[in-house]
């Protein structure tokens, strides 16, 4: 028998960015809020304290802040003819665990979504015709526009203390020749902080990009360029480019995290309670499955605990959200054969292509210097900023040098043909390390009928529940786009006059490789939209089926973005919170009539 706790107004599953934002918004609205985080307590001290945190082996190599796969993981297969096998060791993607979630160890690249990517299908059909989109590509509109989300992008940037260079503010050009991005949508206000300084690598990329004829801009970075106090009174210090950003907690209080930017305010809030080591098993429903009554979780001692609540916010990492919906029986599971069902649908990822340039011994790039969100990008081939009619694929890629700090165990490139060990290898790494840079085409990834999530029939987590199964592989569109982007990015690399260039795009034989890091930007599975036949939650992130359940995160994206997702995840959380505060609480029920 589960222990039953005192009922609360709202329970939040997961305490990363979404959990923290929703906890703040809902306590501000006067609600009592319990947040359940399955991982341990984490914060700048001790998890990010200097000098202990400057330890590549413990953090990036042994994965200290990431999900503990021994408790739960996913299984993966390339197509439905195969038996999925477990993702046993972290590699291709690195979900977080613990207070702050992936928001504690993310890099800090903080974008707004490109406006056309929020209405992807409509835009492509309008510009290129309905037949342009391949039949098995099931891209959709988000159901919310850039203009609607703009105030929430702005709010998130102010909470995060984001550094950047605006292009236009209220229609007035302010960022020309200053590092603004001419492809960026209009803003209601400037970034709270000016852009960070640029590494030498980013400067080389900027110069080369301009020479080739593109439009370099400063990446928006949730790493501070100066001291900052956010609207919650949380204080940040200026980033010193220590190079230990992605995979680490920030000892400088410079990288935005739920722990640094929101938790200090929540700690003073009597209506808020955070319970760690609390792994939610399912959302409990009434017998007729129209309303949630709360959640059941397992505490640190292994006891089952029931937390009754009027409102359930599912705010864990993308695939955990999908998993919890499937385990709880909320929304009809997707069936790839019939195309019916919504939970598990539109699973998408990111379509990356990387080129490394190795220079001679007189060019020093000092790759140990860096900040996770910092760098220079070009958007000439992102979104629909270039004519797609002749290229034969959907989607785009920003290109950038984002030198986040390359460390020696994981980041020693060598010239082609170098052996993997011995004196020749040793000489090569010594001659190369401080003389190389890496640039990425951070490609958008489209959703397809055949890429989806469901429950695995063979493998279980430590709680005896079926693991989530990913059926996922690269499709023709992804390969075409990767090859196009490689061809467009290579001239920038060549313009830098490197001694060697490393890298190659995907080819027709490329399959999703679970063994090498790509990004942790997984999308979809509990997609938002305007039609309950093709979305699991409505435009306010509210379940179509169970009106007091809101599912927030990149799980709501109908396809992957060219940019990193966190800025859009945060904006959607604020957008949903406003709808809950101003509409739902006054009149609980569906916010959109199906």
């Amino acid at each position: 028998m589960a222990t039953v706790m005192k009922k609360t107004d709202a329970v939040i599953v997961g305490f990363g960015w979404v959990g923290a934002i929703m906890a703040k918004e809902l306590t501000e609205a006067g609600l009592n809020v319990v947040a359940l985080e399955r991982g341990p307590m984490r914060d700048t001290w001790p998890d990010g304290a200097y000098p202990q945190v400057i330890d590549e082996l413990t953090y990036n190599i042994r994965r200290k802040l990431f999900q503990d796969l021994s408790k739960s993981t996913v299984t993966i297969r390339h197509n439905t003819s195969q038996t999925a096998v477990p993702y046993r060791q972290l590699a291709a993607f690195l979900p977080g665990t613990g207070v702050g979630g992936a928001g504690l160890h993310w890099s800090g690249v903080h974008f707004r979504a490109d406006p056309i990517e929020l209405r992807m299908r409509s835009h492509y059909e309008e510009r290129y015709g309905k037949n342009f989109i391949p039949q098995d590509m099931i891209i959709q509109d988000f159901g919310v526009t850039y203009d609607e989300l703009e105030p929430f992008f702005d709010k998130a940037e102010k909470v995060f203390g984001t550094s950047g260079t605006a292009w236009t503010v209220k229609g007035k050009v302010v960022g020309k020749d200053r590092g603004g991005n001419p492809f960026a949508p209009d803003r209601s206000d400037d970034f709270p902080l000016p852009a960070q300084k640029n590494t030498w690598s980013a400067q080389l990329f900027e110069k080369a990009g301009r020479e080739v004829g593109y439009h370099p801009y400063n990446l928006p970075s949730a790493n501070t360029s100066d001291s900052y106090t956010n609207p919650y009174g949380a204080q940040m210090g200026p980033c010193n480019f220590c190079g230990f950003c992605s995979g680490y907690a920030c000892y400088m209080y410079s990288k935005a995290s739920p722990n640094v930017n929101i938790l200090p305010a929540l700690r003073m809030e009597k209506r808020f309670e955070l319970r760690t080591n609390s792994n939610v098993l399912k959302v409990n429903l009434t017998d007729d499955k129209t309303r949630a009554t709360g959640v059941t979780y397992v505490d640190a001692q292994g006891r089952e605990v029931e937390q009754p609540a009027d409102l359930v916010i599912v705010g864990a990492f993308q695939f955990h959200n999908v998993h919890l919906m499937l385990l709880s029986g909320i929304g009809k599971p997707y069936n790839p054969e019939t195309g019916e069902g919504v939970v598990g649908r539109n699973f998408a990822y990111q379509n990356m292509t990387t080129i490394k340039a190795i220079f001679d011994k007189d060019t020093f790039t000092n790759p140990f210097i860096g900040a996770g969100g910092n760098g220079v990008g070009i958007d000439d081939f992102n979104a629909d900023n270039f004519d797609h009619s002749e290229v034969g694929f959907v989607g785009g890629s920003p290109f950038w040098v984002n030198q986040a700090g390359t460390k020696p165990i994981s980041g020693l490139p060598v010239p082609p043909g170098t052996p993997a060990w011995g004196s020749k290898w040793k000489a090569a790494v010594a001659d190369t390390y401080t003389h190389h840079l890496s640039m990425d085409a951070h490609g958008a990834h489209q959703s397809y009928r055949q890429n989806y999530l469901d429950l695995d029939p063979n493998y279980k987590n430590i709680y005896g529940q079926p693991l989530l199964r990913m059926t996922f592989d690269w499709q023709e569109n992804d390969i075409k786009m990767a090859q196009f982007m490689f061809d467009k990015m290579a001239p920038i690399a060549k313009a830098m006059n490197p001694k060697y260039m490393l890298g190659s795009p995907k080819n027709a034989n490329s399959h999703f490789d679970t063994t090498s890091y790509q990004t942790t930007h997984m999308n979809g599975g509990v997609v938002m939209g305007e039609d309950p036949k093709t979305s699991a939650v409505n435009r306010y992130l509210q379940s179509w089926d169970v009106h007091n359940v809101f599912v927030i995160g990149a799980s709501a994206f109908p396809q992957g973005l060219g940019y990193n997702p966190t800025g859009t995840v945060a904006a959607l959380a604020y957008w949903s919170a406003k709808a809950i505060r101003e509409q739902y609480l006054k009149n609980p029920g569906p916010l959109v009539q199906a």
Binding site: P51, Q82, K197, G243, N366
Partner: protein, 245 residues
């Protein structure tokens, strides 16, 4: 190893005095002042004595295994004209110490069956073996293979034969009975690189010889005044415990 007392007092000093201050300040100079750079290098380049070798008593490996590990890492990253190699850097100690961590027991991985090791390599590691077992089984197999080929265990071969054997482990052309030779080799090589380039706090990279080789500054972790410069970073590495190379 250097005395525990020195290490902890150094660490205390760092923690107490430098909560948000760059590590470079430890040298008593300010990086803000460019004129100080040469002085800072001079002050920090005091000679350090060669690390003590051979005193580590392995806690995990038996004597045959220990002889293999020492001999193998010395070939994977050899001492040569570019400086000390993995053996001098204490990599055997590092690997032995790693064998007593959750990593080596596989407890940070999903290790529930059924196991299906024959799936394509893109699906990732699918064996039931954890690093401790990979070393135990792999070293026996490697020595057996060397005895068959050359009549002696690995550690007793000359350098050329050791390199030839490692190449065949790497490519998988050497056939092991209990696990793929290339799998064993990949763990050995990865752990050797880890031991050569991780902070000395983990037992390897003694004297920060790995970092010195590639000009990685270790735990300095403040480049506010270097971020925009395309020139050689002049400061030698420091470790978490405050040692300087």
């Amino acid at each position: 190893m250097s005395s525990e007392k020195t290490n902890s007092s150094r660490r205390d000093f760092l923690v107490k005095s430098m909560t948000l201050i760059p590590a470079v300040v430890v040298g008593g100079s300010s990086v803000g002042a460019l004129g100080m750079v040469e002085n800072a290098v001079a002050a920090e380049s005091k000679p350090h004595s060669a690390p003590d070798q051979g005193e580590w008593t392995p806690r995990f490996f038996n004597s045959d295994e220990w002889a293999f590990v020492k001999a193998a890492v010395a070939r994977l990253i050899p001492a040569d004209e570019r400086g000390p190699g993995a053996l001098e850097a204490g990599v055997p100690e590092f690997i032995d110490r790693q064998m007593n961590t959750p990593y080596a027991t596989g407890s940070i991985w999903y290790m529930q069956g059924p196991f299906n090791p024959d799936v394509p390599k893109e699906m990732g590691y699918q064996l039931p073996l954890v690093p401790k077992q990979i070393y135990n089984l792999g070293i026996v197999e490697a020595n057996d293979w060397c005895r068959q080929q050359y009549g002696k265990p690995f550690a007793e071969l000359d350098a050329a034969k050791q390199d030839a054997a490692l190449s065949q482990f790497e490519s998988g052309t050497a056939s092991f009975k209990q696990l793929p030779a290339s799998l064993f080799f990949s763990y050995l090589l990865q752990n050797t690189r880890e031991g050569f380039f991780s902070d000395p706090i983990h037992g390897g990279n003694k004297g920060m010889v790995g970092w010195t080789l590639i000009n990685f500054p270790g735990a300095r972790a403040d480049f506010m005044d270097w971020v925009e410069r395309g020139e050689r970073y002049p400061f030698p590495p420091v470790s978490i415990n405050g040692e300087r190379a």
